[in-house]
């Protein structure tokens, strides 16, 4: 995107593209911070989660499929590992290795998105909608926004994969483009670690958690 010679020295020694991506991610921290705060504030206010269409109080923990979410979290973490390998390969000019690793990242990203689509459908069928509770609103908007970030990342990596055949990714500029995409990907991954912890895992602590008492198994 930079129209000025990418190789020209900058005052800080950091490339324009890398610096603007760091700034975007700083801004995105506030973005996700606001969404996560909204979720946590309401979660503290309404400990029982939501009421379904029949008027039954439902506990989130019974809705969550923590095994599936742990699996998709693990997949997303491993995609970051492959992304690091792809960036490293591009820096060394090993295009074939870059293609292999970036395909892996794309595949893992798609698996994560597939798990999220499954989870949304599952929750919706169990009666959690965006309209029937505050929990539904905050949960779907927060995790959906994260899913949108992942989808944009996947789209971006697919473009980079094709560019690796057209010659656009040659040299320093190409390695930089991949590295910037990598920064974005790692950030989206880190945000998911936080979401997984504060949206899913904490539900299993405290009196209503599976290790506490008082959880009606409905």
């Amino acid at each position: 995107m930079s129209d000025h010679a990418a190789a020209a020295p900058t005052s800080t020694g950091i490339d324009h593209k890398k610096l603007i991506m760091w700034l975007f991610l700083a801004s995105d921290c506030m973005f996700f911070g606001t969404l996560i705060s909204t979720h946590l504030l309401y979660r503290k206010l309404y400990p029982t989660g939501f009421t379904d269409a029949e008027g039954h109080e439902r506990f989130i923990q019974n809705l969550f499929d923590i095994e599936l979410t742990s699996f998709s979290t693990f997949i997303l973490l491993m995609s970051s590992f492959l992304m690091a390998l792809a960036v490293s390969a591009m820096h060394k000019g090993q295009v074939a290795s870059f293609r292999r690793n970036v395909l892996g990242v794309i595949a893992f990203g798609l698996v994560f998105l597939g798990c999220q689509v499954y989870e949304f459908t599952h929750f919706w069928q169990k009666g959690l909608t965006i309209q029937n509770s505050v929990f539904g609103s905050t949960f779907y908007v927060l995790t959906g926004t994260h899913g949108t970030h992942v989808a944009i990342g996947v789209l971006w990596l697919i473009l980079l994969y094709f560019y690796s055949f057209t010659g656009r990714l040659r040299g320093h500029g190409g390695a930089l483009d991949v590295e910037v995409a990598g920064l974005y990907w790692h950030f989206v991954d880190i945000v998911w670690i936080i979401i997984f912890t504060v949206v899913y895992l904490v539900e299993y602590l405290g009196p209503n958690g599976i290790w506490g008492a008082g959880l009606p198994l409905s």
């Binding site: 000025h4 606001t34 206010l45």
Partner: protein, 679 residues
């Protein structure tokens, strides 16, 4: 980049064969005319466009203000209806903040920052064009609500099914610039179409999508300016040698990138409430409307500093120039600006003292609000210290800057009164608050920006504004402003409520309201005269030399108007206020051995930023139309997003392009730059 080497350096791009982008599309290459203004990536032209659009919207916001004041001139007046009145104060606030002051500040960022740091452009020229057009189209989308409102009042839509099925027919935003939930949101249960009952019509949807689009423009511009300032400084231009205006631009840009995400999320949540029946602020289903206030003011209070810091930067350039002294306490001014930036995020709840936060948060936010007066006061003392003992020359920008200090200080004093929560509880929602923030935003920001316009216009256009007209206009502005807003302090303490379209006689408010209205018209005439003078100057004004004020920073070392390449050779800076030192026996401004017949790299123009932004215009119009229930509007939203993504994709595919532009050869520097310059 490899693209640069394709052609020999030229004096004008039209000498080259037409340039094709990486995907074979022809790129625009005119440097004059409409085609040039639509596709330009030159920060100076983008700055001029920002300024022109901002001044137009400023006048529009002014007309809305005069409608408000005319309505309030007499008790139980019927000049405009209560509904129109609500729309007027909402659009007045929104227009002045997002379409007037912020873009006018952006005009200065664009024009000045690269020149002040010795750069040839911003870091991402096409992204800069994208910010401009996204602002323009977001502003148009927001103001399109007036077209629908007029259509409603004129009865254009009577025969349409979608119109007949509307519950609320207010088409222009009417919730105030803060759009508090639950008034702006929903109540009750959502129906099968995912719509919960609402309190307001599609005006609110126009407001939500308009502000969202304007936020994109501000964020993109801020990322660009931070990278430019941190990364593109000329050799020797260390951070503590940056002109103060550039410093304040940097702080403002950081405020924007950290404050705007909060309003972005709040707008998304409100949009989900209204469009999909979500419950973020819907009290029926447990939503807490107070959350909107928190999220809005976490953005809204830093926004105040986003508005005022650029004006402070402008004044910090003007006062030293006309006092023939360096800025008093430069590092303290810079650090005060940064401290204001940090503390700006820690005072938002002082807008919410009457919401029942409890004693601990109220006390904490009271204290922090008092604390933020300290760096602000430090700046004022530094400005006074700058004038003190200087050889003061009175010019229109200097008079306006002195007006800025005085008026801004008055606004600061009433601000400190608000910081005391018990006093604020009395002042909440009265005209005292209106008086306070207009002293800060008109007496402070508007005077500062006008001072900047009169100061830099000779640089931008190479023409000098008429000083007599400028003095008359400045006098009218300062006098009319005090006449309009001074009495509001009294009216507020006497109990007149804000945002109320009329009042009864007998409360003792009649006389001062009439005075305020007359003052508002004097102010309006003054602003119009000041802008008309500038518009005349841009086309017909008297030509002037390149450095008419004997000013201090690098932009004044360049010819007026500034050539496309800015600096023929990259300057090498050895001191703060480098150009002043250069002229008056200090270290000389050196030059790198670049440019000349070998040429400098220039970015190519592009249609793609305009195309991508046009997608936002379609979205901005289609989303409220979808809320109106106009058939197929949903597809228009999808096609708008399609245009946006197509624009961005073609933008990525076309490649940066670029060519080598010949600049005048280097003249031998009278003295080599000192060794410290290379630091």
């Amino acid at each position: 980049m490899a693209h640069a080497a394709h052609h020999a350096p030229v004096a004008d791009k039209t000498e080259l064969p037409p340039e094709r982008s990486d995907i074979g599309l022809l790129r625009p290459d005119r440097t004059t005319g409409l085609l040039d203004w639509l596709t330009t990536v030159d920060h100076k032209k983008i700055g001029i466009l920002y300024g022109a659009f901002a001044m137009l919207f400023f006048l529009l916001g002014g007309v809305e203000a005069l409608a408000i004041r005319t309505q309030l001139a007499a008790p139980e007046n019927a000049f405009i209806s209560a509904r129109t009145y609500n729309q007027m104060f909402t659009m007045h606030g929104t227009t002045m903040i997002f379409l007037g002051v912020m873009p006018l500040s952006a005009a200065f960022f664009n024009f000045l920052v690269p020149l002040q740091i010795g750069a040839r452009d911003v870091a991402f020229p096409r992204l800069n064009a994208f910010s401009l057009w996204t602002f323009v189209f977001g502003a148009l989308a927001l103001n399109a609500s007036w077209v629908f409102e007029v259509g409603h009042l004129a009865g254009w839509f009577r025969d349409f099914a979608w119109y007949q099925s509307l519950t609320y027919t207010d088409f222009a935003p009417a919730n105030g610039w803060f759009s508090y939930a639950p008034l702006s949101g929903t109540f009750g249960q959502a129906d099968a179409a995912l719509h919960a009952p609402r309190f307001t019509g599609v005006g609110t949807d126009f407001w939500i999508i308009g502000i969202q689009i304007l936020g994109v423009a501000s964020l993109a511009a801020s990322f660009n300016f931070i990278v430019t300032i941190l990364n593109m400084r000329a050799p020797g231009m260390t951070m503590m040698r940056l002109p103060v205006f550039t410093w304040m631009t940097l702080v403002t840009a950081f405020l924007i990138i950290f404050a705007f995400p909060a309003i972005t999320v709040a707008l998304i949540q409100l949009m989900f409430d209204r469009t999909f029946g979500a419950n973020f602020f819907n009290p029926t289903n447990g939503g807490q409307p107070i959350l909107w206030q928190h999220l809005f003011w976490i953005f809204g209070h830093p926004e105040v500093y986003i508005l005022v810091l650029p004006a402070m930067g402008i004044v910090s350039e003007i006062l030293p120039t006309f006092s023939k002294k360096p800025l008093f306490g430069y590092p303290i001014i810079v650090f005060s600006g940064a401290v204001i930036g940090f503390l700006g995020f820690a005072v938002w709840s002082h807008h919410m003292f009457t919401t029942g936060l409890g004693p601990i948060p109220t006390a904490a936010f009271s204290l922090l609000t008092m604390a933020i007066a300290v760096p602000t006061g430090v700046k004022i003392f530094n400005w006074i210290g700058t004038i003190w003992g200087g050889r003061v020359r009175f010019t229109p920008p200097m008079v306006l800057s002195l007006g800025f200090i005085w008026m801004f200080m008055l606004g600061g004093f009433s601000g400190i009164m608000h910081s005391a929560a018990p006093a604020d509880a009395q002042q909440q929602d009265t005209y005292f608050v209106v008086a306070h923030f207009h002293y800060v935003l008109v007496g402070g920001v508007l005077l500062g920006l006008m001072a900047g316009l009169y100061f830099w216009f000779p640089k931008i256009f190479g023409r000098m504004p008429n000083a007599t007209v400028a003095y008359v206009a400045s006098g009218l502005v300062i006098f009319g402003f005090n006449m309009a807003f001074g009495p509001m302090h009294y009216l507020g303490l006497a109990g007149q409520p804000r945002r109320t379209h009329t009042y009864q006689a007998g409360y003792g408010w009649e006389d001062w309201n009439l005075v305020a209205t007359i003052g508002a018209f004097v102010l309006g005439i003054g602003v119009f005269l000041a802008f008309a003078n500038l518009a005349w100057t841009a086309f017909r004004g008297r030509r002037c030399e390149s450095d008419p004020w004997d000013a201090r920073t690098l932009e004044w070392s360049l010819p007026s108007p500034v050539p496309a390449y800015n600096f023929a050779q990259t300057p090498v800076v050895a001191t703060r206020d480098a150009w002043f030192a250069h002229k008056h026996g200090g270290p000389k401004v050196g030059a790198l051995d670049d440019g000349g017949p070998a040429g400098v790299h220039m970015p190519s123009q592009s249609w793609m930023p305009l195309l991508a932004s046009a997608g936002f215009l379609i979205v901005g119009l289609a989303v409220p139309m979808m809320a109106m229930g106009i058939p197929h509007a949903g597809w228009a939203v999808v096609s708008g997003l399609g245009v946006l993504f197509l624009g961005i994709w073609l933008w990525a595919l076309e490649g940066p392009g670029g060519y080598q532009l010949v600049t005048p050869a280097a003249t031998p520097s009278p003295a080599p730059a000192p060794a410290e310059a290379a630091r």
